[in-house]
Every structure is written in structure tokens, then in C-alpha cells.
């Protein structure tokens, strides 16, 4: 039997309520006053977009949320969505010195949301108005975080920017691929509108190749930015994979974000294959939409999963089950629909999982969500831009400072360049690419953001995370070399 929606609208909405709602002004004031206003703030070093965190928090504490949003959005135009989707535990909050002092960091993400909501909800534009048009045109392929970060920066610098997007709306995974309880799609769409108000032209629902000739586009543009992201889920390569209830986890999440919650089909017994952060988003939302049982099936062990620790804890508290060292070998159908998975146990041999002979068993499921990683778009890229250099994992090779590819007028950023990182990394990539384009076309290098505290200081100090991001796991490793 095909899967159907389970819950009524009210229950589904209640289950999917925002995990971290916006602070009230009083909550924001109390939390903001926990910030020490560090000089040399590690949070700035840990932010890939180099947001001046102490300054924006001080503005909140002083009753200036508009100014706080100006500080945030001038560094990171998607500061509103990053406030919700950033893994702050391993970025700014993980580096916060109050964590060392009190065991609990300043809630930078939630304060950032408070400030950005203040302006986005009221339609207050805080971004610097664009410079006069300089007559140059840039085409941005993909309206995800990287494309938006690039487009906004270029528009502010006076470029005529057109963003081409296959989907009907902008925002990329922020609109289509984030757990609903973390962020509503409207937030991301509001950010797209804000960037539109900078003079950026968006063309949605256009397919390169079908609607647009890439060669013509490239010829008519002074520069092209590739922010294509990644492709669909990898193939499992097992029998039964093409049954209708074997679904890409990102497609499941997209349904949640584009349909009324009570119309999203969910299985009663859901298997999620893989154990990254997308797998967590899928398993928690399947449970919140009414699945009786949802199991993460992962061929490696707990210690190998790529999901963040706090995401793993969330899934456990939501009631997800975890089958480690387990791999599906067949999707068993009945009447054209998924009935069960044939699972096998694995053991690690030379660091790779290997099926243990005779360990197979059958477990009933009616929905299988694939979260085993996404394909790169290497063949597409190579067909559009013959000769573009890719690495062995299909990522577009680029200069990390300017984001320029092996082709002179082509720049890149986001998941298709980094293989799949955070939204905040994509925004930073897009911004760097915009500056790379500007440096190339206008012969003008733009510095910063520099942490204000670093101006005029001695050598050896790190400035903003935009240039030299630190990450907390690396920090911890450096502190505890053993």
C-alpha cells in the first residue's frame, strides 16, 4: 500500500512547532547581557562569514535591534536563516568564552534570530544601498545560499546580476531542505525578497539547456557564478530501489516544506538510510508527522556518523531507533509497494564495512528514505563548461580566496565547490566569489570584515572567521592533542 498522510493539520503543526522560537524582548535583553563583549572575540573567528557578534549583541542589550541586524546582515546577508540553521554548537557558540566561564555559551544564534526577525518582519532594509550600476553583468546559476551571497554582494557593488534557478522559488536548501521545526520556508523566501530589493533579477523555473543556452549566457556575461549545489541522492544499487516508497530524504523534506503538513505522505514504519544531518532531519520529521517507528540504518558505527552530536541527541529524544553496523541488501516489495527491507549486519574490515555472511534478516517498513549523500553535478558541469577542472570527488577546483575556477570568467561556491558544508559556508563562498569577480573585473580588492579589535594590533592575531575560520572540533583537538 502506498503511504498516506497520518496526522490532522492541528496535530501536525503542533508536532512541528519551532524548536527555538524567537526570544521576547526581555529574554533577548537577559541573554544579551550575558555576553562579555570580548576583545578578540573567538565567536567572530569561528563564524565563516565573520559576523561581529559582540557588537550586534551589545546593540541588542542597548535596545537597538535594527542596528544589530545591520551588523549581522552586512556581514552575512542570510543572517536570518543562519541564525536558525547554523550548527552554532561547533561554530560561534562553541567558541564562546562564556562556555568556559559558566558551562553554557551565550545563545548567539537565538540572539541573531531576534535581531534579524526584528527587521525582516517589519520590512526594514538595513543593507547598504547598491552603488551606481557599473555596466557589468554577472550571471549567477542557482538561487541557493551561495548564489544569494554572491548576488547580494555584487548588486551592492553596482553589478547587474541575474540569478537563474530551476526551482520555482529561491533560497535553495534553506527554502526546500531544512527541518520544518528549525525554520519555516517563509524566512528564506523573505531573504530572497530582501536581495531582490537590492536590484537583483531572479529568473525562477528556468532550466539551463532547455530554456537558456549556456554558451550564449556565458558569452553575454562578464562573469558567471556557479552555485549549483549537489544533485540527487546516490543510488543504493540494490534490488527494489525503484519502488515508489523508496524516496530521496531531501524530496521528503521538500514535500514537508511545500505542502500543508497534514497532506505529506508518511509511512507508519520508516527506515532512514544513512546517518548524517539530513538523515536526522528526515527521521525526526517522520516521527513528528506520525510514524510509529522510524529507524536510522547505518552501515558503520555510532562513532563514524557524520551527524552532529546534538542532532543525534535530538533524534534519540524524538524516539528514533538506531541500527548501527547494518546495511540494506534488498527492498522487498509486495503489489508494487515497499513491504520490508532485507538487512544485513556489517563489520569493519580495514576501515570499511563488510557484510557478515548469514546475518541477514527481514524487517518490515513501508517507507524508505535515502540520506546516503548526494551525487555531485560533475557530468552536468563538464557538459556546460568543457574543460572545467574538478577534483577526484567531483568538486569544482577553485582558488580559495577568489573562488575562481580553472576557467577565466567562471567562479564557484557552496556545495558544488566544497562537496557539501553548511549554509554559512556557502554564503561566505558566494561573498568571496563576488569579491573575486570584482577584483578581476574592477581591479579592486575588498578586504574584511576584519574583526574591529584586530585593527592596528600586533601580528599573529587572527581576525575574522571570513578569512581564517576556526571550528570547535579543531579547537578542541588543538587543546587536547592526545
Amino acid at each position: 500500500m502506498s503511504v498516506q498522510p497520518i496526522l490532522d493539520a492541528r496535530t501536525a503543526e503542533a508536532n512541528m512547532a519551532e524548536a527555538k522560537p524567537c526570544y521576547t524582548p526581555q529574554e533577548a535583553l537577559i541573554e544579551a547581557n550575558r555576553c562579555l563583549f570580548c576583545f578578540d572575540a573567538p565567536c567572530i573567528m569561528a563564524c565563516p562569514t565573520g559576523i561581529d557578534v559582540p557588537s550586534f549583541i551589545r546593540k541588542i542589550a542597548g535596545g537597538n535591534p535594527t542596528g544589530a541586524a545591520r551588523t549581522i546582515l552586512s556581514a552575512n546577508v542570510l543572517g536570518g536563516s543562519c541564525a536558525r540553521v547554523c550548527p552554532t554548537e561547533v561554530l560561534c557558540e562553541g567558541a564562546c568564552v562564556v562556555l568556559d566561564l559558566e558551562g553554557d555559551p551565550v545563545k548567539i544564534g537565538r540572539l541573531q534570530r531576534y535581531a534579524t526577525d526584528h527587521v525582516l518582519d517589519r520590512g526594514i532594509d538595513v543593507l547598504a544601498p547598491p552603488l551606481p550600476r557599473n555596466g557589468r553583468k554577472v550571471s549567477v546559476l542557482g538561487a541557493g545560499p551561495a548564489g544569494l551571497g554572491c548576488a547580494a554582494e555584487l548588486a551592492q557593488l553596482g553589478y547587474e546580476v541575474t540569478v537563474y534557478e530551476r526551482k520555482p522559488r529561491g533560497g535553495g536548501l534553506n527554502t526546500y531542505g531544512i527541518a520544518y521545526y528549525k525554520m519555516r520556508p517563509e524566512v528564506s523566501l523573505g531573504e530572497v525578497e530582501m536581495i531582490e530589493r537590492l536590484g537583483v533579477t531572479f529568473r525562477f523555473g528556468v532550466e539551463i539547456g532547455r530554456d537558456i543556452d549556456i554558451a550564449v549566457l556565458a558569452r553575454e556575461s562578464d562573469a558567471v557564478f556557479l552555485g549549483l549545489g549537489l544533485g540527487g541522492a546516490r543510488r543504493l544499487g540494490i534490488p527494489g530501489e525503484d519502488l515508489p516508497e523508496v524516496v530521496d530524504a531531501l524530496d521528503f523534506i521538500e514535500q514537508i516544506r511545500t505542502r500543508p503538513l497534514h497532506e505529506v505522505p508518511v509511512g507508519h514504519r520508516v527506515a532512514v538510510l544513512g546517518c548524517g544531518n539530513t538523515a536526522i532531519d528526515a527521521v525526526t520529521q517522520a516521527l513528528r508527522l506520525g510514524a510509529e517507528k522510524a529507524v536510522i540504518v547505518y552501515r558503520r558505527g555510532e562513532e563514524d556518523m557524520s551527524a552532529y552530536g546534538f542532532e543525534y541527541e535530538l533524534a534519540k529524544s524524538d524516539g528514533a531507533a538506531f541500527e548501527f553496523h547494518t546495511v540494506p541488501v534488498e527492498v522487498i516489495g509486495e503489489g508494487g509497494h515497499v513491504r520490508a527491507l532485507r538487512l544485513a549486519r556489517t563489520r569493519m574490515v580495514d576501515g570499511r564495512p563488510e557484510i557478515i555472511p548469514g546475518s541477514e534478516r527481514i524487517e518490515e517498513f513501508d517507507l524508505v528514505l535515502k540520506a546516503v549523500g548526494q551525487e555531485t553535478q560533475s557530468s552536468l558541469l563538464e557538459s556546460w563548461f568543457p574543460g572545467i577542472a574538478l577534483d577526484d570527488r567531483g568538486r569544482v577546483l577553485h582558488d580559495p580566496r577568489t573562488m575562481r575556477t580553472s576557467l577565466p570568467k567562471v567562479f564557484v561556491g557552496g556545495d558544488c565547490a566544497n562537496g557539501g558544508r553548511e549554509v554559512v559556508n556557502a554564503v561566505a563562498d558566494g561573498k568571496k566569489a563576488a569579491r573575486g569577480i570584482h577584483e578581476w573585473l574592477a581591479d579592486e580588492a575588498i578586504e574584511g570584515p576584519v574583526q574591529p579589535s584586530r585593527l592596528g594590533c600586533a601580528d599573529g592575531a587572527l581576525g575574522s572567521g571570513f578569512d581564517h575560520p576556526i571550528r570547535v572540533p579543531e579547537l578542541l583537538a588543538a587543546m587536547n592533542p592526545s
Binding site: 526581555q26 537577559i30 547581557n33 570580548c38 578578540d40 579589535s453 599573529g460 587572527l462
Partner: protein, 436 residues
């Protein structure tokens, strides 16, 4: 347990904690509740000729999310009749004979003072406090701080009171005066038994930035209020010590101003108070706060080997002197404990921008990676030769004990400004070089 009982200018009370004259001491009901909670005395809300109050009356200074750091009021003296007040004082004294009940009074003519002193005594009050401090409303009618600000007038009025009084008389002083000692001396000359200070300070706490009306407002207009609460404690301590140190004053002092806990109380006692009054902290949290005051003060006195508050009273008065007697050769420097440093570097920027530029940011390599330290991020280090020992870095440091101000032996004998001037004049020493 230390014995906290006091005999303040002849007024006995089981402990030094008295409810100050104000909204918490307005009725017998409140006095009963105060004594049940453990307060040693109540100074009744000031009794005088009938007045009328306004709405609203109070406003507060909130700092960094903390409420009532400072407090302001434009409420006048008791709006109940003298008959009611004196009758209730009698009721309270009958039920609490061992506790102190003080009648706070404010009237204008000599005859009225004589009459009210008599009525207070007839009510059974243990003492009288003269309200020479109220800085709003009543001063416009020639009473309150209008009296306290003019020592000659205060002396005359205290004289009128002393003509009639047979119970101890306490004069409550206003801080809204250039030098409070002059007012204290006037009280002494007129024969008062004690002084209490400080009353509230003239204030405007804040302006509503939407309506542009200062708070508290009465139909869109406000009036200068009286400021009190934790924020005024340093001002009160300064005035208490000034009176305690003045040889011409020589009166018992009841300390008032921002007391909220036993530590505040102990500081007031150390600077010369032998009794204490509290109002704002009660308005914030109720009479129950006295339990910790009694408990904490008693434990503190025990821990220092004092049998009662006498041993502590005034112990710090002589630790203050004119600046000219301070040792110019005393040196102390800031030392940073890099093991507990969390890397906020507030000490660095405070010294760099706000003080004397004696902290460097240096390579963290010799110090290892402590809490909150990022590889490559510099750590603060004090240049001790240049450190002027100002304390600023240790004050801004958010980690207790991380920055220690450490005395350094300069090997030079003590020399104060006066010594310096004398020896310089005699040609015994060279001038101390100016700071570069």
C-alpha cells in the same frame, strides 16, 4: 552567635536592622509584619500635617536587565492622619515592647514641633526622628530638605525639638548638600542625640523616549524625585564615614542608603554606623530579607571574633584619610593567571583604551592553550614595569581570581605627598620624574 542587640542613643533594639521611614513603615499592619519577620525597629512613615499624594509615585533605574538598581520616589510623608498614626504606634508598642518604634516627624512652627514631640512621646514611641531630608514636595513648603540644607535653620529647629523632647532625638540628614558634616555639626550643637543618613538624593531616573516624559509621571508631567536603592550605597558610605570621622560631630550614626544584605550592613557598621535602616530593599523583596541580614552579620561577627557589633563599629573609619597622606612609594601590579584566563581580552582593551597601556597581546605559545584560547590568538601579558597598579584590568576581568593585584616591594620607605613636598623643599630629594 554574636549578640546583635543595640542601644542606639538610648534606644534599645534586638538587632541593628530598622525599617526606615517610608512606604514599608506606613501602618501598624506593616510594623507587625516587620517585627514578625525579625526587624529590630521601625521608623514610622513621617507624621505631619495632612498631605495629598499623586499617582504615579515611583520609578526605577534598571541596569543590564537587573531591576531596581536605583529607585526614585515622589511620594510625600504619611497621608494618614496624625491621630491614626500615633494610635497605631501605641498599638505596636503594646504588642512589641522590646522592639524599637521611632516616630518620624515633620512640621513647621515651633508650637507644632512641641505638640508633635509631645504626641509622639504620649504614643509610647522610643525615639523621634526629624525628617530634614525629604527632597521633593515638602521642601517646597519650607520643610524636609529645605531645612536639612541650611545648617543654621536646622540648628534652630532641632533646638525647638530639644526644648520639648524627653526621648532620644535623631536628626535625619539630606545628602543634597555640599558637605553633610556641616549639617551633622548643626544637629550636634543643637543637642540632638544621634543622626541618621542619608535621605534620598535629588534625581530623575529616566525619560520615556516615546513620550519624552520623565518617570514617574503624573498625567504627562513629573517632578524631581528622591533617589535610593543599591546604586546610592557608595554615596551613603562616604557621608557616613565623613560624619563618623569628624571630631565635632561625635554622635551615634544610624546608616541608611542602599543596604540590601548583611555585607552592606557590615560595611556601614565598619564605617561608623551603630544602627541601620533599610527601605528600598524591602520595597523590592519584602520584610523577609532581614533573616539573611541577621544570619549573615552574626556569622561574620563570629568569624572575626566579635561578640557584638561594637567590635566592628567604626573599625574602617581611620582607614580613610586625606589623599595627601597616602604612600607615594607603595606599588602593586596586575598579574594574570593564564590557567584560568578565558581569553576575553577585556583586560587588554580596558588598559589600552581606558587606562595606561601596560598590557601587551603576546604569542600564546609559552602559555599553552587554556580555556577559550584559540590557536594563534594572542594572550594578554602585563608589562609590570609600566603597570601603574590602577586595578582597572582586575575590575573588568569576568573571572574571579584571574587577575590579582600584587604588592611589589620597591625597597623605598613610605613617603606621602606632604613628606614629599617637605623633603623636596629642603632639597633632600630629586623630584619624582613625570610619567612619560
Amino acid at each position: 552567635m554574636a549578640d546583635l542587640s543595640v542601644n542606639f542613643a538610648g534606644i534599645r533594639s534586638p538587632n541593628p536592622f530598622w525599617v526606615a521611614s517610608g512606604p514599608p513603615s506606613n501602618t501598624a499592619y506593616q510594623a507587625h509584619r516587620a517585627f514578625e519577620a525579625g526587624w529590630g525597629g521601625v521608623v514610622w512613615k513621617t507624621i505631619g500635617d495632612p498631605i495629598v499624594n499623586v499617582a504615579s509615585r515611583y520609578s526605577a533605574l534598571n541596569v543590564a536587565g537587573q531591576r531596581m538598581i536605583g529607585f526614585n520616589n515622589i511620594e510625600l510623608i504619611s497621608d494618614r492622619s496624625p491621630e491614626t498614626n500615633f494610635r497605631e504606634i501605641r498599638e505596636v508598642k503594646d504588642r512589641w515592647p522590646g522592639h524599637a518604634v521611632i516616630a518620624s516627624l515633620m512640621v513647621d512652627t515651633r508650637e507644632r514641633w512641641h505638640e508633635f514631640v509631645k504626641r509622639a512621646e504620649d504614643s509610647g514611641a522610643d525615639g523621634i526622628e526629624l525628617n530634614f531630608g525629604c527632597p521633593h514636595g515638602m521642601c517646597e513648603r519650607g520643610m524636609g530638605s529645605a531645612v536639612g540644607q541650611n545648617p543654621e535653620v536646622a540648628e534652630i529647629i532641632v533646638g525647638w525639638v530639644m526644648e520639648a523632647a524627653r526621648i532620644p532625638v535623631i536628626v535625619k540628614l539630606t545628602p543634597n548638600i555640599t558637605n553633610v558634616v556641616h549639617a551633622a555639626r548643626a544637629a550636634k550643637r543643637a543637642g540632638a542625640d544621634a543622626i541618621s543618613l542619608i535621605n534620598t538624593i535629588n534625581s530623575i531616573t529616566n525619560v520615556d523616549l516615546d513620550t519624552l516624559t520623565p518617570e514617574p509621571h503624573v498625567g504627562g508631567y513629573s517632578s524631581h524625585g528622591g533617589y535610593c536603592g543599591p546604586a546610592v550605597k557608595p554615596i551613603a558610605l562616604n557621608m557616613v564615614q565623613s560624619c563618623a570621622a569628624d571630631p565635632e560631630v561625635g554622635l551615634p550614626i544610624c546608616g541608611i542608603g542602599g543596604i540590601g544584605g548583611w555585607r552592606d550592613a557590615a560595611e556601614f557598621i565598619a564605617l561608623g554606623s551603630s544602627c541601620l535602616q533599610v527601605c528600598t530593599a524591602i520595597m523590592h523583596r519584602g520584610f523577609r530579607i532581614v533573616e539573611d541580614m541577621i544570619d549573615g552579620l552574626s556569622d561574620y561577627l563570629d568569624s572575626k571574633g566579635h561578640a557584638g557589633i561594637d567590635g566592628l563599629c567604626g573599625a574602617s573609619v581611620a582607614r580613610l584619610s586625606d589623599w595627601k597622606y597616602l604612600d607615594l612609594h607603595y606599588k602593586r601590579v596586575a598579574r594574570i593567571d593564564h590557567d584560568t584566563c578565558i581569553g576575553c581580552n577585556l583586560c587588554y582593551i580596558a588598559c589600552e583604551d581606558g587606562a595606561h597601556q601596560c598590557i601587551d597581546l603576546v604569542d600564546s605559545a609559552p602559555y599553552g592553550l587554556g580555556p577559550g584560547r584559540v590557536p594563534g590568538k594572542p594572550v594578554p601579558k602585563v608589562r609590570e614595569d609600566d603597570c601603574v597598579g590602577c586595578n582597572l584590568c582586575s575590575l573588568v576581568c569576568p573571572v574571579d581570581g584571574c587577575i590579582t593585584m600584587t604588592p611589589v616591594d620597591t625597597g623605598r620607605p613610605k613617603m606621602c605627598w606632604d613628606d614629599y613636598q617637605t623633603r623636596l623643599a629642603k632639597g633632600e630629594i630629586e623630584p619624582i620624574p613625570a610619567h612619560p
